[in-house]
Symmetry: C2
Subunit: 207 residues, 2 copies
Amino acid sequence: MPRAGRKDARSKLLDAALTVIRTKGYSATTVDELCAAAGVTKGAFFHHFRSKDDLAVAAADHWSQMTGALFAAAPYHDPADPLDRVLGYVDFRRALLKGDVAGFTCLVGTMVQEAYETVPAIRYACDRSISGHAATLEADIQAAIDSRGLSPDWTAQSLALHMQAVLQGAFILAKAKGGAAAAADSIDHLRRYLELLFRPDESRQPD
Amino acid sequence: MPRAGRKDARSKLLDAALTVIRTKGYSATTVDELCAAAGVTKGAFFHHFRSKDDLAVAAADHWSQMTGALFAAAPYHDPADPLDRVLGYVDFRRALLKGDVAGFTCLVGTMVQEAYETVPAIRYACDRSISGHAATLEADIQAAIDSRGLSPDWTAQSLALHMQAVLQGAFILAKAKGGAAAAADSIDHLRRYLELLFRPDESRQPD
DNA sequence: GCCAACATACCGACTGGTTGGTATGTTTCG
DNA sequence: CGAAACATACCAACCAGTCGGTATGTTGGC
């Protein structure tokens, strides 16, 4: 166990991986670069990870933990109405679109694009991260369905995944356009969709 | 000018780039690999392209041309009601989700994720491709707005881009899950959103 | 009609730097 | 001490890009 308080090489490498890989992509990121960004040597890298791909899997799991803690502590869980919790989640995601593009985009969305076919272990880790995060929304979505007596022809799970798809697509727009504006617009459309699904009357526009 | 009928090295390299890069990602794709897939030599590669990045830009433009022709010739332009044309586009995109994941995912969405920060020229080319394609939907969306006398607080352009975001996000889901099912569900949600936006009455579910 | 001059398309061996990974110390801590 | 946590030195494979050369037109002057 490393000394508490001071970060060990493994943690520094994982933290460095989050920023470097989100900036340059996975394949273009070299082990030396990762070591330099983390302030450790190559020996430390291969002491903690068997290979670069092995670090990618660990980084995806680390990402799941970091984001899991962030969303678990976020205030959107507070409202009594489950729909407000779901909409609060969307608002929370939208509010995260600040600063550099690399700062708010998704590690696993980036990595799975490059490695889905060539490195199955990375694909599995990214799927775990995305699907696991989506699953945290399912209960609130289902409660919103039940509270309004709806019986839709879609599932809470598919809507939760769709929300992730919109976010991932918004990140691609942000990368292509070099800014968050289009991504924010897309998240606004997602919010509007949820309003229309669950509050068709109130959200109808006047003639 | 190359002999008509026989493909020249440049075209073969661009065609090979579409499949290889979509399968392995841009950075992980080597020039030698591209040459092997195209059946040409390295000399031919650097005769036609100054660098690997130069080919990426040309491949993005080639992608725009190929997909532009595909969508221009598609039957979703036929309906008289502009909303039906927009919905027809979504149905057409959904119907394209067949075969291998690499076969239906997007070249420029893949490339921009890796190169948005490091190679500006590639980012511009990918933005041109995505935004140019989205622009082909704007007129129909605007006509659908006008035909129903709506005055929404969103623009036709933002909705067209949102549709691209959903598609790009759906591709990421497909890559993470190793199949098209989740992507198809997401596109279904996009279609439902459009129905709710433009036909709130008819698409209301019965109590 | 003919040939020199030039242009385009392509070939493939070669290079110099880079990359993931290894082998072998050294330090730190219980 | 002994093992885990690093550090240093090194390597073989690989990779983008180069370069001299060939084959096949194309153009223009006489």
